[in-house]
């Protein structure tokens, strides 16, 4: 059918299925061809008895039921949705884990810890050349003798630096796991009530000065 051809009123009536009058052979031929094409297209886009939704859901279910080995899912690229805020949070978590677990120094050096806003790094030192082990025990460690083991340096000096909260702390050194000795360089020495002497340091925001 040419584009510039126009159907007569009779041809339109014929296409509508209500033929009432004579239609030319050419119009009838074009109209029949057009009708058969429309019917074929309609049949293709709308399968009888199934909506488009039904068809889509059927395919989804079929895909879901298909059995794929797990290893195949593992090795195939998968889309991952990630909020950007998770990146620094994961980095911080990894840093904390590394500091807590993976950063142990030699000879029982305690793990590296980070000082908070209200804590200050304080270095403790004791000259005890004859000692084979020295630990730091105090109110900051609930007086547990196995929490802070000091490291030996040249000249029989035992040293440990740890973050302490700003405020007053009482402590002693434990030499060879038995002998409790005060720190002669502390701010003060006080009676511990048990017949011994506790050393006292007052940690200010800018640190501790001892003699």
């Amino acid at each position: 059918m040419n584009d510039d051809r126009r159907f007569t009123a009779e041809a339109h009536t014929y296409l509508d299925g209500a033929q009432t009058g004579p239609v030319s052979e050419a119009d009838r031929s074009d109209a029949d061809r057009l009708r058969s094409a429309v019917e074929a297209y309609s049949a293709r886009i709308a399968a009888p008895g199934r909506s488009l939704t039904d068809a889509v859901m059927e395919r989804v279910e079929r895909r879901g039921k298909s059995k794929q080995p797990v290893w195949r899912w593992v090795f195939e690229p998968q889309p991952i949705r990630l909020r950007p805020i998770w990146a620094p949070m994961m980095a911080a978590l990894l840093l904390v884990l590394w500091l807590a677990v993976g950063n142990r120094g030699p000879e029982g050096t305690p793990p590296l810890v980070m000082a908070g806003a209200d804590t200050v790094f304080v270095q403790f030192r004791l000259v005890a050349p004859e000692a084979s082990a020295v630990s730091l025990v105090g109110s900051f460690s609930d007086w547990q003798s196995d929490q802070y083991t000091m490291g030996r340096e040249d000249g029989g000096v035992w040293s440990l630096t740890l973050p302490l909260a700003i405020g007053e702390h009482q402590y002693q050194f434990v030499v060879d796991g038995q002998r409790w000795v005060p720190d002669p360089t502390a701010h003060a020495q006080v009676d511990d009530g048990f017949g011994g002497t506790n050393s006292v340091i007052v940690v200010g925001p800018r640190g501790v000065v001892r003699s």
Binding site: E168, I201, G204, G207, V209
Partner: protein
């Protein structure tokens, strides 16, 4: 019958929610966690209950018991010391409250007890408490006064230094720098009386307003982590 059951349940819940009961449970739990023997736990918990009833803090009592046990002190001796410390806390509370006042903070009572054990009188405790801008500020003030006294300053001078620093507007944290400043002055050869005078002067050698005038040989405390960067230059024997 149901009413009685409901009343019993309510009574139990109220009992559990009572601060004293939960505090005793905390005391007991803390001591048990540190491995103290059952009898000592029971005895110290009883002392702590008495302290609670008198409005005294229990933490210092628990800490003292734990300290004694860690030092392998016999249990009867630990109990004696804990009971004595409760009496010190009672006296300290009286000193803090003075002629009248509200319920004192536990941290202040504890600091007052430590200070009175090092030579600060009850009157001086009251002076520091009244000079503090906030109730909680008197705790570091008392601890610093006690430390300065232990460093050789007279208690009058130590209290005067603390009060002047408070009046200069020093923060609680800045007050805690005073013992280190005194130590640095001592290392330069100054005697306790001179240290007190210079600190009270608030001049170049003492603590100034706001940031404070730290002497040049006083190192900053915010140092690097262990084994990193420069070390604390303080000389130790």
């Amino acid at each position: 019958m149901n009413t009685i059951r409901h009343l019993s349940l309510a009574t139990l819940l109220v009992t559990l929610a009572t601060p004293g009961w939960s505090q005793q449970a905390d005391v007991r739990g803390t001591l048990e966690a540190r491995g103290l023997p059952a009898q000592l736990v029971a005895d110290v918990t009883a002392v702590a209950a008495e302290a609670t009833a008198q409005g005294l803090p229990t933490d210092p009592l628990v800490d003292k018991a734990i300290e004694g046990w860690a030092k392998q002190v016999p249990a009867p001796r630990i109990l004696v010391v804990v009971r004595q410390f409760r009496l010190h806390l009672f006296d300290a509370r009286q000193a803090v409250v003075g002629d009248g006042g509200g319920e004192p903070l536990g941290m202040v009572v504890s600091a007052a007890a430590e200070a009175m054990g090092r030579g600060i009188t009850a009157e001086q405790v009251g002076t520091v408490v009244r000079a503090a801008h906030r109730p909680e500020s008197s705790a570091p003030g008392l601890r610093v006064a006690a430390a300065l006294t232990a460093q050789g300053l007279s208690s009058d001078q130590a209290v005067a230094v603390v009060i002047e620093a408070m009046q200069r507007g020093q923060t609680d944290a800045q007050l805690l720098d005073l013992p280190s400043v005194a130590r640095a002055m001592h290392a330069r050869g100054l005697g306790p009386a001179q240290i007190g005078q210079q600190m009270m002067g608030g001049g170049a050698q003492g603590i100034g307003r706001g940031l404070g005038a730290r002497p040049p040989d006083v190192p900053p405390g915010l140092g690097p982590p262990p084994g990193k960067g420069k070390q604390n230059p303080s000389k130790r024997p």
